[in-house]
């Protein structure tokens, strides 16, 4: 461990704002990139399910 | 590979080569404009335009930093090993500013050949190391060995 206390870890030697914004935004972008295809897939399958049900009723 | 595909492949590679050569020619023609800064040697040789704002880059010479006692004013010399340029600046210097550090200053050269800067940026090299290691290196006098990255100023 490079830091002696949790407060030191958050402060990052007065570069905390820079380090944490970088990591925060980057992590958010990564999560977004992972979530978008998952959501798109779910939406597509729901549409397909509705379409199949309609076809069966005919 | 059948001949049709081979032909398509060659056409594409030829286009790519053409674009590559065109870009290479354009970039070499613009060589001087793409450089972010002039080295002290270039300024001494009169390559830098006079009377306009230019950027000068080099290493801050050891022992050349003089701070004004009553203001934020500071003057120092930058060197590329061959020539030096004196820089005057009013304002807060970046954290990394120190003697021996690479810097880039933006400003105008006045009649005395002094660059009056309104912006000073610190340039660091590609070497990273923990503080303990750098202290140990300083002590054993091996630091110079690790400063190869700064040779680019000494053209």
């Amino acid at each position: 461990m490079n830091f002696s206390s949790f407060a030191d870890f958050i402060a990052m030697g007065n570069h905390g704002l820079y380090v944490w914004t970088s990591y925060g935004i980057s992590l958010a972008v990564l999560l977004l990139n992972a979530a978008l295809p998952l959501l798109a897939r779910r939406r597509y399958l729901q549409e397909e399910a509705r379409r199949l049900r309609r076809e069966e009723m005919k | 590979m059948n001949p049709v595909r081979k032909k398509r492949l060659f056409i594409i590679l030829a286009i790519l080569a053409g674009v590559g050569i065109a870009v290479a020619l354009a970039l070499s023609a613009l060589q001087q404009n793409i450089n972010l800064f002039y080295t002290p040697s270039q300024i001494a040789a009169g390559e830098a335009p006079q009377g306009t704002r230019i950027r000068a880059g080099g290493l801050v010479e050891q022992g050349s930093v003089e701070r004004s006692s009553d203001s934020l004013g500071v003057s120092f010399r930058v060197t590329d090993g061959a020539s030096t340029v004196t820089i005057r600046y009013q304002g807060i210097l970046p954290d990394l500013f120190r003697e021996g550090q690479g810097i880039v200053a933006l400003g105008r050269v006045n009649e005395q050949g002094v660059l009056v800067a309104d912006e000073v940026l610190a340039k660091h090299d590609e070497n990273y190391m923990p503080p303990e290691v750098s202290q140990a290196l300083e002590k054993s006098g091996m630091m110079k060995h690790y400063e190869g990255g700064k040779q680019e100023y000494q053209q």
Binding site: M1, N2, F9, M12, G13, H15, G16, Y18, V19, T21, S22, Y23, I25, S26, L27, V29, L30, L32, N33, A34, P37, A40, R41, Y44, L45, Q46, E48, A49, L52 | M1, R5, L9, I12, I15, L16, V23, L27, I34, N35, L36, F37, Y38, L93, P94, D95, L96, V120, L121, K123, H124, D125, E126, N127, Y128, M129, P130, P131, V133, Q135, E152
Partner: protein
């Protein structure tokens, strides 16, 4: 030379089956490596003797910048394969990789700006490295826009492939910009031929992060490509039966 494996690669059905097997491994590897790399880089790696803790931004900046350039090279290769061999899957890969590449370029530029402020003293400088990286972002935007603007699938694929191949000229410019011109950006810390210009306790977490980012890209790309294959091949019988089983599971 035997090209059957190459043509097999072009079969959407074969791709869908094999990628389904790889996807969980890649996803877990990405999650694990990025988690380990982040904690290691943030808390355990030593600080830099000059930059202090702001140096830790390197653990995102460098992997994102590597990936931004690698993905563009991949677009160009996919474009070449699509144009020469008329492989449909190449266009799927190109279209689906471009947005990820744009996001990675965005991360590299953003973390670079946030890192530049405390170290250089400026958010942005128009030096050759930063400018060529910004051009890369616009090239990605161009590929994405072109793919969406042209409604005919084949023409869109051709246009995007040509733009990707021509734009690849920018990649060596990004890489060598720091050597060809005077830039504020420092030269590369990692070179293939030399040992890295940092001690092992600093570069090992970086290596973990780089591999993690590559796994992340592979996993997200496969997810996107699989959905696109289902959409484009919706009329084929294997997709119809696949959708029926998937829908059955979800309902």
């Amino acid at each position: 030379m035997n090209w059957t494996w190459f043509h097999k690669l072009g079969s959407p059905k074969w791709f869908y089956e094999i990628s389904g097997r790889w996807l969980p491994w890649l996803a877990w590897a990405a999650l694990l490596l990025i988690a380990v790399g982040t904690v290691w880089g943030l808390a355990f790696a030593p600080q830099d003797y000059q930059q202090g803790n702001s140096f830790r931004i390197i653990y995102i900046h460098v992997p994102a910048a590597f990936l931004a350039q690698s993905i563009y090279v991949m677009l160009a290769v996919a474009g070449l394969v699509g144009l020469v061999w008329k492989m449909k899957l190449a266009d799927v890969a190109l279209q689906q990789a471009a947005p990820i590449g744009a996001w990675m370029t965005f991360i590299a530029l953003l973390t670079g700006a946030v890192w530049g402020k405390p170290t250089w003293g400026a958010w942005w400088v128009w030096d050759a490295r930063l400018t060529s990286m910004l051009i890369l972002l616009f090239l990605y935007f161009g590929v994405i826009a072109l793919g969406q603007a042209i409604s005919n699938r084949d023409s869109a694929a051709k246009a995007c492939a040509v733009l990707s191949i021509v734009g690849v000229v920018n990649i060596p410019i990004i890489k060598y910009s720091v050597e060809w011109w005077n830039t504020l950006h420092q030269p590369a810390t990692f070179k293939v031929t030399e040992k890295p210009a940092m001690p092992v306790e600093m570069w090992l977490p970086l290596l973990v992060m780089v591999i993690g980012f590559y796994c992340f890209f592979a996993a997200v790309l496969l997810m996107r490509m699989r959905l696109e294959v289902l959409r484009r091949e919706a009329r084929s019988s294997w997709v119809k039966s696949e959708i029926r089983t998937l829908v059955g599971k979800d309902a």
